[in-house]
């Protein structure tokens, strides 16, 4: 693998800072599950300073999903823990359908133990619980795991509170490739440059990010380990090198290169080896994306006279057109279950996120903004993160796949764009 040390114009920051991404919920589902999350006994020993209490983080996670509503809890004496017996009628009178009780205790080795139990108030039964041993620094991560557990037990789907997101922030003439927890906390700069950075893409195991940087005055594809501040060049051919997309097994990258003329799709190893050309159109082919089963590559092409989405076998060959409505359909993203396709559709003078059901061919427009870009599915498929413009600034929006729940993610004094939602924690 060719390694490149950081050039003078670039700097890396491996340390994590305070959250700079703030999240505002701008819409919620019609039916939200009322859940009472009682402050965990002993959690105050861990909270304080920049740390919120575990129960507060769990509640914020669940409410942010748009599927839950936190029920206000009076102070209870004695304070119940996961071991307490539950008076379900009392919780029913507080209009809670679910109840989370827990505690935090210091261990002799300096670490902590967080325990909780989830109850179904309607069925008057315990659903289950977990005990986690954690360091003080793992408070937020532990709270996200508890929220994931509650989310999965009550909705039947995986929670994504423990995942991370990547995005690009532009502040003045400075570009920052940032990664952060899904709630915006623990923001960490992977790359800072005076030239544009676009198209971050998480490797399937979440350990590496491929991206395009213009730091050498032209677009070049790099791969960087999330934990190691060192760039590795993947594709640096004549012309543009861009649009990296990982194969589901992480062994190959599909990229768009102009080395042989107009933009075409190629496969390349993450270390830059074994280049193979996949498309042979005279026009623009770009934005390749693998289907989750690795069988297909979806991509944008203007071969029919306007940019539309096509797909071909992952080994190459004939392409079939996928989008037909409209004169401008770009940025294909396949849902994690492989059943639907999110993309950017020109709708009159607006550019909005559309969702195509690949089975029924039904198209639903999910957003009402003007200039949406770069949709990215949450790994459970429930939400799509996208870039748009609000009040003249670049913001990220998370919209639920049914279009109902919306959140807005903004940064202080900067434009945020190019979101990429990372995989589930393994």
């Amino acid at each position: 693998m060719r390694n490149l040390l950081a050039a003078a114009a670039l700097s890396f920051a491996a340390c994590s800072g305070h959250a700079q991404l703030s999240i505002e919920i701008t819409g919620a589902g019609a039916q939200r599950i009322p859940v009472a999350i009682v402050p965990f006994v002993g959690e105050g020993a861990l909270a304080g300073g920049a740390n919120a209490a575990i129960s507060a983080i769990v509640r914020a996670d669940l409410e942010r999903s748009g599927l839950f509503r936190g029920v206000e809890v009076p102070s209870l004496v004695p304070a119940p823990t996961e071991a307490s017996s539950v008076n379900y009628a009392e919780w029913k009178s507080r209009l809670a359908d679910a109840l989370v009780l827990g505690s935090v205790a210091a261990r002799p080795d300096g670490r902590f133990e967080a325990r909780f139990r989830l109850h179904d108030v309607v069925k008057q039964s315990s659903i289950g619980g977990v005990a986690y041993t954690m360091s003080r620094e793992q408070l937020r991560a532990t709270a996200h795991r508890i929220a994931d557990y509650v989310y999965e037990k009550l909705t039947g789907e995986k929670g994504v509170f423990s995942t991370r997101i990547a995005y690009v922030v532009k502040r003045g003439s400075r570009y920052e490739l940032q990664i952060a927890d899904a709630d915006g906390a623990n923001e960490q700069a992977m790359l800072v440059s005076n030239e544009p950075i676009i198209s971050p893409a998480w490797s399937p195991n979440g350990k590496r990010i491929a991206y395009v940087s213009f730091q050498n005055k032209k677009p070049i594809v790099y791969v960087q380990d999330v934990e190691v501040p060192k760039q590795n060049i993947v594709a640096n051919f004549k012309g543009s090198n861009s649009a990296p997309a990982w194969s589901p097994d992480g062994t190959r990258l599909a990229v768009a290169l102009t080395r042989d003329g107009s933009s075409q799709i190629y496969l390349i190893n993450p270390d830059g080896g074994n280049v193979r050309r996949l498309t042979f159109s005279g026009g623009i082919d770009t934005e390749p994306r693998y289907s989750p089963d690795g069988q297909w590559i979806y991509f944008t092409s203007d071969r029919g006279g306007s940019p539309q989405i096509y797909r071909m076998a992952a080994a190459g060959g004939d392409a079939q057109r996928v989008t037909f409505e409209g004169s401008y359909n770009v940025s294909p993203r396949i849902s994690p279950d492989g059943r639907s396709l999110a993309y950017i559709m020109r709708n009159g003078s607006k550019y909005q996120v559309a969702l195509l059901d690949l089975g029924t061919r039904q198209v639903q427009v999910l957003t009402d903004s003007d200039l949406d870009e770069s949709p990215s599915f949450a790994p459970n498929g429930r939400q799509i993160l996208l870039a748009s413009i609000a009040g003249g600034r670049g913001v990220l929006t998370a919209v639920s796949a049914d279009g109902r729940v919306k959140q807005r993610l903004t940064v202080n004094a900067g434009d945020v764009r190019e979101p990429a939602w990372g995989p589930l924690l393994q």
Partner: protein
């Protein structure tokens, strides 16, 4: 006198670039046939670029002379298009002639797009725009190794704003000489 000063400029230009071809044509041998390319000498123009014969200036100073067509560098496009409108042909012809007459000089063509749609599609579209300008320059006498075509996509807008005026300014290819990028 005129030939001497032009030759001096050409040599100075060539010295800035890595390669210099020995078979460079003397500038005076080329006749202008491009309609609308005739530049009027401006009183404020620097002496080296002034052409008292009425022929267009073809020295380096003309690149900066607002009265020379060579000072014009930008090709503008319609949305999602990369075809070069006829209006820009005289300008591209003048630059092709300049490249032909100054075989040692190089040019960078940067393709740009407006902010709408996808960044990656716009990067590819910008490349098609710059390649189109490069192809026309080569058809008109520029050499492949003189001209590099790159794309900035929607990443470096000349004019900020989400309106048609800004978008029209940003759908553009720029022809740039060494020292200008």
């Amino acid at each position: 006198m005129r030939t001497l000063s032009l030759a001096f400029i050409a040599c100075t230009l060539a010295a800035c670039t890595a390669t210099q071809t020995p078979d460079r044509q003397p500038p005076a041998a080329v006749e202008d046939r491009a309609p609308g390319a005739v530049a009027q000498p401006a009183p404020s123009a620097p002496p080296a670029g002034v052409d008292l014969t009425g022929r267009p200036a073809s020295g380096a100073a003309a690149l900066k002379d607002p009265n020379s067509i060579l000072s014009k560098r930008s090709v503008y496009y319609d949305f999602d298009k990369f075809n070069i409108k006829d209006d820009y042909r005289p300008m591209i012809e003048a630059h092709a002639r300049y490249l032909r007459e100054n075989g040692g000089t190089k040019m960078l063509v940067q393709g740009n797009t407006d902010e709408r749609g996808s960044r990656e599609y716009n990067l590819a579209l910008g490349q098609r725009r710059s390649e189109g300008v490069k192809r026309m320059l080569m058809l008109l006498g520029g050499r492949e190794e003189q001209i590099e075509a790159v794309s900035l996509g929607e990443e470096k807008p000349r004019m900020a704003g989400s309106n048609e005026e800004a978008w029209a300014q940003n759908r553009r290819s720029d022809m740039l000489y060494p020292g200008e990028y």
